[in-house]
């Protein structure tokens, strides 16, 4: 139970063992109804649209069309590849920032603010920002030219330079979305009681051993949350990629966008949506399962 939940429990008035009080249910009703209509219903509708033929029969033709689509397999591969490249970098960088902030150095509040700026920046805006650096008339070429390294501008973002394309997308996403991981980790670090570190000091633990044996194990719930949230958001990645690479680097959410925005094919777009949903649920279950076994190993479950 987190500290916040404990506070919730303490703040509650004592249970009154009288007849059922309907007031809380009435207060919850608008939220439940709203989420049923705009969340649960479209979720089911996605399956209906992708599995039902125009005459109402069950069909897998849209999924077959999706699997045959030239972009599908590379979109699936890119979504996983980009996620696998981006998330370890984000977790590492966010951990470094969070640990720096946790030292409470003079000026740490400003450092937190600077690192938090990307919290308010969309994937689209981040893509546009970094394209001003990587694009052919961008600042990377200008800097290289001013340094006398190149004479003519280099086209970095082209299908002939896949490493640059992936590199630019990874840099943009690490720049933009490390902030949310950092905030989760800083909040998680604040929940660790100071006496743990004092005890470690008494036993003469070095900084590295404190990190390895005290901080990281206690930070595991926060890391878990950060991992799940970031992975699911990474599967929805599309604007950054389209700004940087157009359709040269297709991704799952990007294909859903093109199927609907370009071809008006709602069934195929829904099929992509269903795959993204299933991928997200599978990865969440996988993470939860991994956490569980690790906790049991550590004997804390």
């Amino acid at each position: 139970m987190t500290v916040a939940e404990q506070r919730v429990e303490q703040a509650l008035p004592p249970v009154r063992p009288q007849s059922v009080d309907w007031l809380p249910y009435v207060l919850l009703l608008p939220t439940v109804v709203f989420l049923a209509v705009f969340f649960v219903y479209p979720m089911l509708q996605a399956f209906v649209l992708s599995f039902r033929s125009p005459d109402g029969a069950l069909t897998v033709r849209y999924f077959q069309a999706m699997f045959r689509d030239t972009y599908f397999s590379s979109a699936l591969r890119n979504s996983f590849l980009l996620t696998a490249l981006i998330i370890p970098l984000q977790i590492f960088l966010a951990l470094v920032i969070a640990l720096l902030i946790n030292t409470r150095f003079h000026g740490h509040a400003w450092f937190l603010f600077i690192c938090a700026i990307p919290l308010g920046i969309s994937d689209l805006a981040a893509g546009l920002i970094w394209s001003s650096f990587f694009t052919e008339r961008g600042y990377l070429n200008l800097i290289l030219q001013n340094l006398g390294v190149i004479e003519q501008p280099i086209t970095f973002l082209t299908f002939e330079r896949p490493a640059w394309l992936y590199g630019a997308i990874v840099a943009t996403e690490v720049w933009r979305a490390t902030a949310i991981v950092m905030v989760i980790l800083v909040a998680g670090l604040q929940l660790i009681p100071k006496d743990y570190f004092e005890t470690a000091d008494v036993f003469g633990a070095s900084g590295w051993r404190k990190l390895r044996h005290v901080t990281l194990p206690l930070l595991r719930p926060a890391l878990q949350t950060a991992l799940i949230i970031r992975t699911i958001l990474a599967f929805q990645l599309f604007a950054t990629v389209i700004v940087m690479a157009g359709r040269i680097v297709p991704v799952m959410a990007g294909e859903a966008y093109f199927q609907y925005g370009l071809y008006r094919n709602i069934n195929l777009a829904s099929a992509y949506a269903v795959v993204i949903m299933v991928m997200s649920m599978a990865i969440t279950v996988l993470y939860l399962w991994l956490l569980r076994t690790k906790e049991a190993e550590a004997g804390r479950g």
Partner: protein, 271 residues
């Protein structure tokens, strides 16, 4: 490592990471205040010469930009009203009552927060055509409300937990009804916290690209307009740079204004 060496290493890391975050913002700002002819010129200097608002003006005078900006603000305002009006009662109930099904409700909220919700815009497009909500600002606001609502519930729960129930009880002993006690006592104390929920909702709505792009055709929000200009129409670099720079200005201002509450606000939302 020696203490001064350690300190120098920490300082170097802090400077390096700050530069990593700020440098791209500096770059796009420089680009946005360079003239359009200069942007295409080669070679040219790094700094704008002359410093000019021509590129920014070009962006604002482009087809549909001002209307899209207005649309974005309207959608965000509608989303804030809907999310707080629907979510705050639920937050209040979670902070004040024990009741059967409370844990199930909490789990449901957690599940919706961790769901790839923007994707739901695709199936909703069909329903919205039937419900006459397609290509309307209300339709986009409803989807943004669905995205923001789980966060609004969690933020308002913690807001009302911070308002002592004893105050409401005291008001009721003095003759207020339950509703009056809420409106006259709890609500005024909760206002700053509700404002925080509103700001969080604004950031979410202002930045949302996918659902707004799918669910609109002519009544674009700003991200939807720019997304289609870039993704389907291949907008020129001057449009891209000025658009990107303009969209992050509110973000920087808002994050600066609420910098003291960043951890509380974003920290709560992930629990």
């Amino acid at each position: 490592m020696s203490a001064p060496g350690r300190k120098a290493l920490l300082a170097a890391l802090v400077v390096l990471i700050s530069a990593w975050v700020l440098f791209p913002i500096l770059v796009i700002a420089l680009a946005s205040f360079t003239t359009r002819t200069q942007l295409y010129a080669w070679p040219r200097s790094l700094l704008p010469s002359p410093f000019s608002i021509e590129t920014m003006r070009f962006f604002f005078q482009s087809q549909g930009v001002l209307q899209a900006l207005l649309n974005s603000l309207l959608v965000a305002a509608l989303t804030i009203v809907l999310a707080v009006a629907i979510g705050a009662p639920a937050g209040y109930a979670l902070s004040r009552f024990h009741f059967g099904g409370k844990e199930a409700f909490r789990l449901g909220i957690l599940g919706t927060k961790m769901f790839p919700a923007t994707i739901l815009a695709v199936p909703l497009a069909v329903s919205f055509i039937n419900w006459n909500l397609y290509d309307t600002l209300l339709g986009v606001a409803l989807v943004h409300t669905a995205l923001a609502l789980p966060f609004a519930v969690v933020i308002t729960t913690s807001v009302f937990v911070g308002v002592p129930f004893e105050l409401e009880e005291a008001a009721m002993t003095l003759g207020c009804s339950r509703g009056q006690a809420f409106w006259r006592v709890a609500m005024p104390i909760a206002i700053p916290g509700l404002a925080a929920a509103a700001i969080f909702t604004f950031v979410l709505s202002w930045n949302e690209v996918f659902a707004a792009t799918i669910l609109t055709l002519r009544n674009r929000t700003l991200p939807a307009l720019v997304m289609n200009a870039v993704g389907l129409a291949g907008a020129p670099i001057d449009y891209r740079f000025a658009g990107g720079f303009f969209m992050i200005i509110p973000a920087i201002i808002i994050i600066f204004v609420i910098r003291r509450y960043l951890l509380t606000l974003w920290g709560i939302t992930v629990r």
